[in-house]
Symmetry: C2
Subunit: 214 residues, 2 copies
DNA sequence: TTACTTTGACACTAGTTAGTGTACTTTGGC
DNA sequence: GCCAAAGTACACTAACTAGTGTCAAAGTAA
C-alpha cells in the first residue's frame, strides 16, 4: 500500500475533480457509507475513471486525507504568520489568532468533515498510514506553533519551559474546545459563543504562561 | 423515535446480552460496518429476538449509547468523590484524579470505542437525540466536576471565577489531551507518557487557577 | 491523417446487509 | 402438566456496493 502514487496517470483536472468530490462525499457520509458511484456522480466522471486513477476506495480515501492535510497545514501556517509575527497586544493577538484558526474549520468544511471520518476509522486504518496522517496534519500544527511561542517568550512576554507543551495546551484550550463542542463544525455554534470559549481559553493560557506569574 | 422504550419486553437477561454485544460490535466496527447478524452471534441470540426487543438497528445503537453513558457517568462520579472529597496535596490529588479519569477509558473500552462511533455519526444522528447523549455523558462530567472545584476554591486552595469554565479547562488539559492522542484508546500510549501529559496538564491548570497567582 | 492515451457508458459479478415471515421449540409461572 | 409468552432456525426479499470487462468515443500529439 503506497502513500502517494509515484507515477502520475491521466489528466490532472480529472484527478482533481475526483479528489474534490471524494473529499466532499467522504466527509458527508463517512468512509463506509460513501459510495464510489456517488463520488463519480459528484465528480462528473465515470466510475471506471476513478478506478483508473486510484486502485482502491481505501487508497482514494487516504490520498484525499493526506492531500487535504497539506492544504490546511499551509493555511494555518499563514494564519500563524499573520497574527504571531509581531505582537502588539499579546492577549488580543492570541485571541485573534485562535479565532482565525478555529474559523479554518469552517473554511475547509469538507476537509474537517473528513477529519471526523478519519478519527472514526482510526482503528481500521493501518498504523503507518495513520501515523503519516497525524504527522501531516495535527502534529505539524503543534510543531509550527511552538517556535512562535518560543520567540514570544524570548521577547519576555511569556514564561515557557517546554514550548511544545505550551503549544499543545494553547491548542487544547481554544481550538480543541470549540471543535469538541461543534463536532468539528457538524453542529453549529453561534460566533459569540465561540468568541467566549476562545477568550476564556486564551486567558487561562496566559494566566499560566505569562511572564509576570511566579 | 423514542429514546427509551416505555413498556419492557422479553426477558431482561436477553436484552442485556443484546445491549452488551451491541456495545462491543458497534464499538469495534462502527455503526455502518456493524452487522445485526454479528451482534446476534456475539450475544448468542437469534437475530429475530433482537428485532423483537428493538425496532431498529438505529434504536439499538442509540439505546446502547445512552445506557453506556449512564454507567460511565456513575463510575466517574465515584472517582471524583474518591479523589476530590478531601484534599491533602492539591497537585497530587488532581493528578491522581485525572489519571483515574483517563483510566476509565480503558476500563470501559467498549463504551469509549462507541463514543468514537457516535462522534463519527454526529452528523447523521437526529439533533435531539444527540443532545440527549451529550447531556447524559460528557456534559454531566463537567457539571459534576465544577462543584468540587468550587468547594476547593472556597477552602482557599484555588482562585476560580467560573467553576464551569475551570472544570472544562481541567478536563481539556488532561483527559481530552490523552484521548485525542490515543483516539479514545484505539492507539495505545505507554503509561509513563500518559502520566507526563496529565502532570503537565494539571500543572498548567494550577499555574492558572492557583490562589497564589495574581 | 495516424497512433496513442484517456475517458465514458453500461452491463455484470459477487458479496453483503437490514429487516420480515413462518413454523417450531423452549421457558417459566400457575 | 398446561399454557402463553418468549425465543429460535431459517429461508427469503430487496436493496445496495466494490470492483471488473468490454468496447466505443473523444481528446492529444506527431
Amino acid at each position: 500500500m503506497t502513500l502517494r502514487q509515484a507515477e502520475p496517470y491521466g489528466r490532472p483536472e480529472k484527478r482533481q475533480a475526483i479528489t474534490r468530490a471524494a473529499r466532499r462525499v467522504f466527509g458527508r457520509d463517512g468512509y463506509t457509507r460513501a459510495g464510489v458511484d456517488a463520488i463519480a456522480a459528484e465528480a462528473g466522471v465515470s466510475k471506471r475513471t476513478i478506478y483508473r486513477h486510484f486502485t482502491d476506495k481505501e487508497q482514494l480515501f487516504l490520498t484525499v486525507a493526506l492531500e487535504g492535510a497539506d492544504e490546511v497545514t499551509a493555511a494555518i501556517a499563514q494564519i500563524m504568520d499573520r497574527h504571531l509575527h509581531k505582537i502588539v497586544d499579546l492577549e488580543q493577538d492570541l485571541i485573534d489568532f485562535s479565532l482565525d484558526r478555529v474559523a479554518a474549520v469552517t473554511t475547509f468544511p469538507d476537509h474537517f468533515a473528513l477529519v471526523r471520518a478519519i478519527e472514526a476509522e482510526a482503528a481500521h486504518i493501518p498504523p503507518p498510514i495513520l501515523k503519516a496522517w497525524i504527522a501531516a496534519g495535527p502534529q505539524t500544527g503543534h510543531l509550527r506553533l511552538a517556535p512562535y511561542l518560543r520567540r514570544i517568550a524570548e521577547r519576555g512576554l511569556l514564561r515557557i519551559d517546554d514550548a511544545d507543551v505550551a503549544a499543545a495546551h494553547l491548542t487544547l484550550l481554544t481550538v480543541t474546545d470549540v471543535n469538541q463542542q461543534t463536532f468539528y463544525g457538524a453542529i453549529p455554534l453561534p460566533q459569540e459563543e465561540v468568541t467566549r470559549l476562545v477568550t476564556a481559553g486564551v486567558r487561562t493560557f496566559l494566566r499560566s504562561y505569562s511572564a509576570s506569574a511566579a
